[in-house]
Amino acid sequence: MIEKADQIFVILAHWLVSFLPVGLQPAALVLLAVVAIIVTFPALFAISVLLERKGLGRMQNRYGPNRVGPYGIFQPVADGIKSLTKEDIVPTSADGVVHFLAPVLLVVVVFMGYAVLPMGRNMTLVNLDAGLLFFFAVGASTELSVFMAGWSSRNKYSLLGAMRAVAQMISYEVPLLLSSLAIVMITGSLSLGKIVEAQNHYTWGLPHWYIFTPWGFAGFLLYAVATTAESNRSPFDLPEGESELVAGYFTEYSGFKFALFFLGEYVGMLSISGLGTTLFLGGWSAPLQILGWVPSWCWFFGKVMLSMCVFIWVRGTLPRLRQDQLMNFAWKFVLPLSLINLMVAATWRFLGEGWERWVVCSAILLLAYTLMGRAGMRQGQIGPRSYRYAE
């Protein structure tokens, strides 16, 4: 019974496919999985948007949406209908083809990342040997779509927003990759399935997740910072800083194309939360051994939604950074710290079992964090802001 609940989607898919001729079955199985991904994650997108609007409302001491349905829970449906029926305006000076392709490319690329995420036991669409590499490779392509959107609009705000977004995404991709690299070093595999398997052990009923090690904890924090910047979320939402750039690279988008950008942003956040879950939070494994009877996919989606709540919480709490602060933070603090974390992970690997490695690794990381934070604060120009204009 427990086994059945765990594998319910796999069993269901095989049952549905069994009506087809044998030759078509493998293709149909893949198609079914793709359809499931394309249906599930936009549904989660609707839930997260509602959660965000309600949650942010509460954090800002207001109600949030409460008109459509009981407690406003049908607000995403209303938003969807609205964006479908709105007029699609393309500026006359815009580059039509590129302007149209940008949101399409974004959504396609963002959905491709899900192909390698293990969403439960036996629930990976393609179990690639180099799954992590695939995820980062397709993730890197989103920058191009952001650039296409900003450039093709022929609008200075769009172009500035796109330049900011691309610069920021390139800068934070380095710590993102480096913090994940520590996991690859310890696991010895780029396959996401193997990374989850390596964490799915228990000692005294407690899990061996990577977040519960010194380097894993530091890596998770660095990963969280980098992902927040990668997905252009507050406090790193300068590319769409509405007080300066209207809406950044999608200023000139309206109607359903705007909705596609919105969808792309949230589905990207969900996928990168899924990767974080897989890398640091044990993927689909249960947080306690006695909870092993709960279906594995419940844990995966639960952890992803928890990460989304943290995203929303951070957005409701922190003010937006300035462009120079953003870049300094990336190159002078996050990047060196993730390099140090990589060395610490190697030290952890070669110190062997025992309590010494806990002390040594924690001490190195704490020392590096404190010293670099102090040094950064001392040389940081805290005081009146100086303006420098382009000549």
Partner: protein, 170 residues
């Protein structure tokens, strides 16, 4: 030679041709990206996962962005009125065909140069990402270190070139 191969090859060739013939420089850069992506798909079709993903990560993710940034920062994004074609297109065509012929000849004869490849072509050995990693960290560690040193010096050089000189500094 499957349908997939011809579709991907068509995509790459179309992208490359568009990169040469289109008028707007940014369009050319984007078309070039399509050609890069097509090449990556070709690698994947040949079961070379690492090469394919590295191609996407480096070329689509980084080189394409670098190219469009360079175009935007050098004000080259405006389309010139008198076209973008060089007057020496015949010379270019001859050079390109020559290089293509040499490369094609080398590729077509390479199977015979492999040790142990007799009459019948052998099945390609299965190379996993792990094998590549082991080779890079074992047998080819010295070239890897040299490349790393070269890249680091290039990085430092770029920083020095781009560094904003402080006023009053000697």
């Amino acid at each position: 030679m499957s349908i997939v191969f011809f579709a991907i090859a068509g995509l790459s060739v179309a992208g490359a041709l568009a990169a040469v013939t289109l008028k707007s420089t940014v369009h050319c850069a984007l078309a070039l990206t399509v050609a890069f992506a097509g090449l990556a798909l070709l690698f994947l079709e040949l079961d070379a996962q690492f090469a394919g993903f590295a191609q996407i990560l480096v070329y689509v993710g980084a080189v394409a962005i670098l190219v469009v940034f360079a175009i935007l920062l050098t004000r080259g994004s405006e389309t010139p009125k008198d076209g973008v074609y060089s007057t020496k297109w015949l010379l270019g065509l001859v050079t390109a065909s020559g290089i293509f012929a040499v490369l094609a000849w080398a590729v077509l004869h390479s199977t015979w140069a492999l040790p142990g490849a007799g009459g019948a072509p052998k099945a390609a050995p299965q190379v996993t990402v792990m094998d590549i990693g082991n080779a890079l960290m074992g047998r080819y560690v010295l070239p890897l270190e040299i490349v790393a040193l070269l890249l680091t010096s290039a990085l430092i050089g770029a920083v020095i070139v781009a560094m904003h000189e402080k006023e009053g500094a000697q």
